[in-house]
């Protein structure tokens, strides 16, 4: 198992957003976290990346066990160096070009020299079909292009897993396709991914694991084929049928 979390809890004020989440992701797996709005999917992903500090929880990453509430800055940074995160709102560095967005982390966080970083950066941009836009600033790119640069930034560092937080939710409908097809090709190449999305069709055709969440708990998780044809829980069946037709 590449990554496992256990008993992740998080509350905001009086609202219990996560009520003890367990989940695991294997190397090469594309796991999709589905569920209605307010289920806690995004909070879970943010806790798993320490963008929020959970109230409790355990992280097991490559066999190493961590108490998620007491991780040192160094441990978190070391974890971030092995993972990548794609945001709903892209969050490209606004003062950097597309290529600089990809190379910034390689040069500054990983200490690669500029030539090496640019070589890797161009490969990553090639991968998402945006080499021609390498010198564009974020404001000169469409939303779909910005998200593809963000994916290039994620893959350039050869992460062990990429987290996607509703990567297409901020996009116009006609721009979601280009982002989803990049993600599909990553899945085909065996990239380990944990994806929060509302794109049921994408989940059905691309993922090999579905984690269905509601009201801060995991209702059910399992292989994609089973979850879409013969889930154990009625609620899962209802959700996947209602929104997935």
């Amino acid at each position: 198992m590449l990554l496992e979390v256990k008993n992740v809890k998080k509350h905001f004020k009086s609202l219990d957003v996560l009520k003890g989440i367990d989940l695991s992701i294997d190397t090469g797996e594309a796991a999709v976290i589905l569920g209605p709005s307010g289920a806690g999917k995004t909070t879970l992903l943010r806790c798993m990346n320490f963008l929020e500090t959970p109230d409790s929880g355990e992280l097991i990453f490559e066999g190493q066990r961590y108490d998620m509430t007491h991780m040192s800055k160094k441990e978190i940074r070391n974890y971030h160096l092995q993972t990548a995160f794609v945001f709903q709102s892209f969050n490209l560095f606004l003062n950097k070009t597309a290529l600089q967005n990809v190379t910034e982390g390689l040069i500054i966080a990983r200490g690669l020299d500029k030539n090496q970083a640019e070589k890797k950066g161009l490969e990553a941009l090639e991968r998402v079909g945006l080499v021609t836009h390498k010198d564009h600033f974020p404001h000169q790119l469409s939303g779909g292009q910005q998200q593809r640069v963000a994916i290039a930034r994620a893959i350039a560092a050869d992460p062990k897993i990429i987290f996607f937080d509703e990567p297409t939710s901020a996009l116009d409908p006609e721009l979601t396709g280009e982002v989803l097809s990049v993600m599909r090709s990553l899945a085909d190449d065996g990239m380990t991914m944990a994806i929060v999305t509302h794109e049921i069709e994408f989940a059905r055709t691309v993922s090999n694991k579905i984690i269905f969440m509601e009201n801060g708990v995991v209702v059910e998780s399992g292989p994609t084929a089973k979850m879409f044809t013969n889930p154990d829980k009625e609620r899962t069946a209802a959700f996947l049928k209602v929104t997935g037709k």
Partner: protein
């Protein structure tokens, strides 16, 4: 009479301009540079909400924004010798102008830092950068771009405020003009003349601001 005025204007012009170049401008440039260092460091500390240090900085800003510059100059130059601290006029002026300007600019830079979307910091973390790396490479460059017009404003205001240093015997442009007036009894002409030189300095800075904004703002320009 009018030809006398013209002669006096031409004669006194270099006499006023030279202390402008040797006193007013250096006083402004040195003080403003120190003020920027103070502003960025204190704004970063406030942004990070470092306990105690933040409170000390708030106190500093409160005092220096809440009292007149002229009073601050008098305290440092005429007041401190009373407790054995003697500072020459020019360094005394640099100290006061730096601290006063730093207090205002600190707030400008802090507000600009806080206007940078939180996602910029989060993205930096997720690529494995440290807080200071993100601050230096991502947040500060964006914040300084936002703060630039306000900071340029304060710089222009500061060029003019340096005339207050005349009160602590810094022989800058204004004091030099006063001396010429005392000799020639032509206050209207000479004060108009020194005003004109301040106007020239400010105008040059305004052009510099426009140029700087264009350079800094390449990544922020709206698409056509």
């Amino acid at each position: 009479m009018s030809s006398n005025w013209l002669t006096l204007f031409i004669d006194s012009f270099p006499k006023i301009l030279i202390p402008g170049l040797t006193r007013t401008i250096p006083l402004t440039v040195i003080s403003f540079s120190i003020a920027m260092v103070i502003a960025v460091l204190t704004a970063m500390a406030q942004y990070a909400r470092i306990p105690i240090l933040s409170q000390i900085i708030r106190f500093y800003i409160w005092v220096f924004r809440g009292t007149p510059l002229l009073v601050q100059l008098f305290i440092v130059f005429y007041g401190l010798p009373r407790v054995g601290i003697l500072i020459d006029p020019f360094p005394a002026a640099v100290i006061v102008f730096s601290l006063n300007e730093g207090a205002y600019d600190s707030e400008t830079v802090r507000a600009a830092l806080e206007s940078v979307p939180i996602g910029q910091m989060e993205a930096g973390y997720c690529v494995g950068m440290t807080y200071m790396q993100i601050m230096r490479r991502i947040l500060l460059p964006q914040a300084m771009r936002t703060a630039f017009p306000s900071l340029s404003n304060s710089l222009i205001a500061m060029v003019k405020s340096t005339s207050l240093a005349a009160n602590i015997t810094v022989t800058e442009m204004f004091m030099t003009t006063q001396r010429i007036v005392a000799r020639t009894y032509e206050p209207l002409l000479l004060y108009l003349e020194v005003g004109l030189i301040y106007l020239i300095f400010s105008t040059l800075l305004t052009f510099l601001q426009g140029w700087g904004e264009k350079r800094l703002g390449a990544y922020m320009e709206k698409e056509a």
